[in-house]
């Protein structure tokens, strides 16, 4: 069964143009997992269109984090910026790319906002 992380990157590759990133272009490399068992995803953003691969190459921004931390972020249980401050997620290179990219992470499943009730 694919993990939430696998699912996230699979969905990202299928996602149409993301308007929130239409002004952004660049690449982000995700190195997820403890030393020795790192899973790598390489995401290029071209004016809001994503391409996902497992390539190993230098990116404009590279992210290192543990499996469970990333899993929690993509499922809305944790917050990317809080994780960054906590040292649980590390970013090298252009921090703005991560700031803009984190918009695609979904929020918590439940919300009491009237527009959100009954969602998810």
């Amino acid at each position: 069964m694919p993990t939430a992380t696998d699912q996230f990157f699979a969905d990202l590759a299928q996602r149409g143009e993301e308007p929130l990133l239409r002004r952004s272009s660049g690449s982000i490399r995700f190195d997820i997992g403890a030393k020795g068992e790192v899973q790598r995803w390489f995401v290029t953003i071209d004016h809001g269109t994503f391409a996902v691969s497992r390539r190993s190459q230098k990116a404009d921004c590279s992210i290192q984090t543990d499996t469970d931390v990333f899993e929690n972020i993509v499922t809305g249980k944790d917050n990317a910026f809080a994780a960054l401050l906590r040292g649980a997620l590390e970013a090298d290179g252009d921090p703005e790319l991560l700031l803009l990219f984190q918009r695609v992470f979904s929020g918590p499943l439940r919300s009491t906002h009237p527009s959100a009730v009954g969602r998810g």
Binding site: R86, G87, E90, L99, P108, S111, H113
Partner: protein, 699 residues
């Protein structure tokens, strides 16, 4: 504690006593702070075991101070044979040059000791006295003394180095020195905040600029601002003070490529705040328009995209407050960022439009089209919690979220005449004004830049509809003013407040009602003689030193004056400007966040509200907006209209080199309006009374 000395660079700042010493307690705000963490809480200099006394303190720049000291405790005998100089500059952390001068005829042997330590308090710990959850440590590594703090993956450290080398242990640094007669000994200490990453990688935190660049940067900043010539000396001083304080309050988020926006205030609020950064950028537009551009870009990049109850985040919502400390990292506080405000989202669109009017920068308006539309959608849809066409607020984070999400955010700021407090949600009146203005301005941008006339028509229709309903539901007929708010049942929260001035600024008031509103703003219940009280005299909760229930806020008054001008009340706007500028003189040009609402005739001088935060950005911006208002500066296509209406005592005034889409233009005016009520000879603008405390300052 003794008088505090504060110096800063971005959100790195040092608060010490007048000796340059830091002896922080758990709840005391002194220390070296960077990114909302205290990296140094002890920093005490002794010579032969003796504390030093202060001879003088020179604030060289906002980022640099020099302390002249001598052994012995200030008030008692001072050993004139020996003096000590500490010069401290905030860089990435700080740098301190120590000099021990021997004025005697014999060589001296001394032990110089700098006691050091850090408690790594989060800024919120300092405010709330929370205990630490992680582990503190220290080490001496070759040439550096390191203090550290670790909690799970969260790891911060402070490195201290010295040239020449010192003997180091966990309590600090010790030097055994010999100083020949008429000679001196010097040393340089560096204190650097460090972030330690997953694999032990060290990253320096701290200000973006080196000290050498900072002096040049300040010169450039002052050079690029318009020049003010004014016969009335105090205004020159206030203007210069405002420009320097605004320079000090600039903050560069990590993602801004070095560009800066106004942080909210020193020391607690050296960070991005939606509301404060927007209001200050609006005030500063005619003087430093680049602040608005950065504010808009950075707030847009952090605009809400999802529903998150902990952060009170909704799609399209503009953030309230951003923090970088331990409590945000571990989600004990929601500031990563926190979104709980109900005004910044509409104000974001207001600023975008006002910015374009001044600068003609259509590229930014084009770039931020989606964000502006998302903001307008938030105003229309997600803020309308009751589905009746108004902007409402009610926090979803009931533990650490904000109850009042308007600028008057203290617990008792929103009350009925009988003093009782309404339930939630609440819809304060100024929020509806901002929503109206945002739609009107959004419509202009939609037509002009986004080329979407249908959207523009829709926004204008929504605005007109809101204006009609608002004037039906909020108008307090027996008092001829607008209610402070509606409660969830649609009942008026019917006190008289300064908020009605913001309604003039937003344009939601029909001409036919504007005079009644203006009359209240300058009337005896609201106008103190210095400015407009937040809550009117005679209301149950009125208190002249109540935070939002009777004090006068310079920022509030500056927007009220702008609103009065919008409706043609030139003299009334000038009267408010005169009062606030007179008050500024009593504070040496640095207006506090708020001062007491006592009648001016009673106290003769403005009574400062006790607050830890000064300078405060939107108070710093108030004189700038008042200048704009008094000169009647208004962009019209590619030219700048000047229509001065100035209080008489101000004399001749010239504002030279106002930047904008017209290049640079000059504005001239002369004080012709009688704003005084006593009518005699008049160094003060607002009353004509002569200063009692001290002579008018000149620069």
């Amino acid at each position: 504690m003794a008088e505090q000395v504060r110096i800063l660079n971005g959100n790195t700042f040092v608060v010490s006593d007048e000796r340059g010493d830091i002896e922080a307690s758990r709840t005391d705000p002194s220390g070296l702070f960077a990114w909302d963490t205290r990296f140094l809480s002890t920093w005490v200099l002794t010579v032969d075991g003796q504390r030093l006394g202060t001879l003088s303190v020179d604030d060289l720049q906002y980022f640099e101070t020099r302390f002249f000291l001598a052994p012995g405790g200030g008030t008692v005998y001072i050993d004139a044979q020996l003096s000590v100089m500490r010069q401290r500059t905030v860089t990435e952390g700080f740098r301190e040059r120590l000099a021990v001068l021997n004025h005697g005829e014999k060589a001296v042997e001394l032990t110089v000791h700098m006691e050091a330590g850090s408690d790594f308090s989060d800024l919120f710990d300092v405010k709330n006295d929370e205990g630490k959850k992680g582990e503190l440590y220290h080490s001496v590594e070759r040439d550096r003394l390191v203090y550290g703090y670790r909690r799970d993956t969260f790891h911060r450290a402070t490195e201290i180095t010295s040239e020449p080398r010192a003997k180091m242990d966990k309590n600090g640094l010790t030097y055994k020195i010999r100083v020949e007669p008429q000679k001196h000994w010097t040393c340089e200490l560096r204190v650097t905040p460090i972030l330690i990453g997953r694999d032990g990688k060290r990253t320096r935190l701290g200000g973006p600029k080196a000290a050498e660049d900072m002096g040049e940067d300040l010169d450039r900043w002052l050079e690029s601002a318009p020049k003010l010539e004014c016969e009335w000396g105090p205004l020159r001083q206030t203007y210069r003070r405002s420009l320097i304080d605004l320079a000090a309050l600039r903050f560069s988020p990590l993602t801004s490529g070095g560009r800066s926006l106004p942080a909210a205030g020193l020391p607690w609020f050296m960070t991005m705040f939606g509301r404060d950064s927007i209001f200050t950028s609006l005030q500063a537009l005619p003087f430093a328009p680049e602040l608005a551009a950065t504010t808009l870009r950075e707030l847009a990049a952090r605009q809400g995209t999802r529903f998150d109850d902990f952060r009170d985040e909704d799609p399209g919502r503009i953030l309230h407050e951003m923090r970088y400390g331990e409590s945000a990292a571990f989600q004990e506080q929601p500031h990563s960022p926190y979104y709980g405000n109900a005004d910044a989202t509409a104000l974001f669109v207001v600023l975008l439009d006002e910015y374009e009017r001044w600068t003609g920068d259509k590229a930014l308006v084009r770039d931020l089209e989606l964000e502006a539309r998302a903001a307008l959608r938030w105003v229309d849809e997600y803020a309308d919690l009751l589905g009746n066409g108004y902007v409402w607020y009610q926090r979803r984070n009931e533990k650490s979220g904000l109850e009042n999400q308007c600028w008057k955010d203290s617990w008792d700021s929103i009350s009925y005449r009988d003093g009782s407090l309404p339930g939630f949600p609440r819809a304060t009146c100024e929020l509806q004004g901002y929503a109206y203005d945002a739609r009107m301005r959004g419509a202009r941008l939609a037509r002009l830049v986004w080329k979407d006339p249908d959207y523009a028509n829709k926004l204008e229709k929504q605005a007109a509809d809101l204006k009609r309903r608002f004037n039906r539901d909020y108008w307090v007929a027996d008092g001829e003013y607008y209610a402070l708010a509606l409660d969830a049942e649609g009942k008026q929260v019917d006190v008289l407040t300064s908020n009605i001035g913001h309604l003039l600024w937003s344009g939601i008031v029909p001409q036919s009602r504007a005079r009644a509103v203006a009359r209240h703003l300058l009337g005896p219940r609201l106008f103190s003689g210095w400015g407009v009280r937040t809550l009117a005299l005679g209301e149950k909760r009125y208190n002249p030193i109540g935070y939002h229930v009777g004090t006068v806020w310079p920022f509030d008054c500056s927007f009220i004056a702008w609103g009065l001008r919008r409706y043609g009340f030139k003299k009334e706007a000038a009267q408010i400007a005169a009062g606030i500028l007179d008050a500024a003189e009593y504070f040496d040009g640095r207006l506090p966040e708020a001062f007491g609402g006592y009648p001016r005739e009673e106290t003769k001088y403005p009574v400062q509200y006790p607050t830890a935060c000064s300078p405060q950005a939107w108070s710093t911006g108030a004189p700038l907006l008042l200048l704009r208002t008094m000169l009647g500066l208004q962009p019209l296509e590619d030219s700048l209209v000047v229509d001065a209406a100035l209080p008489m005592g101000i004399g001749q005034i010239e504002l030279l080199g106002i930047p904008g889409r017209w290049g640079r233009v000059d504005a001239f005016g002369r004080g012709l309006l009688h704003t005084d009520r006593q009518g005699r000879g008049r160094p003060e603008l607002g009353t004509g009374a002569r200063r009692r405390v001290k002579q008018a300052a000149t620069t």
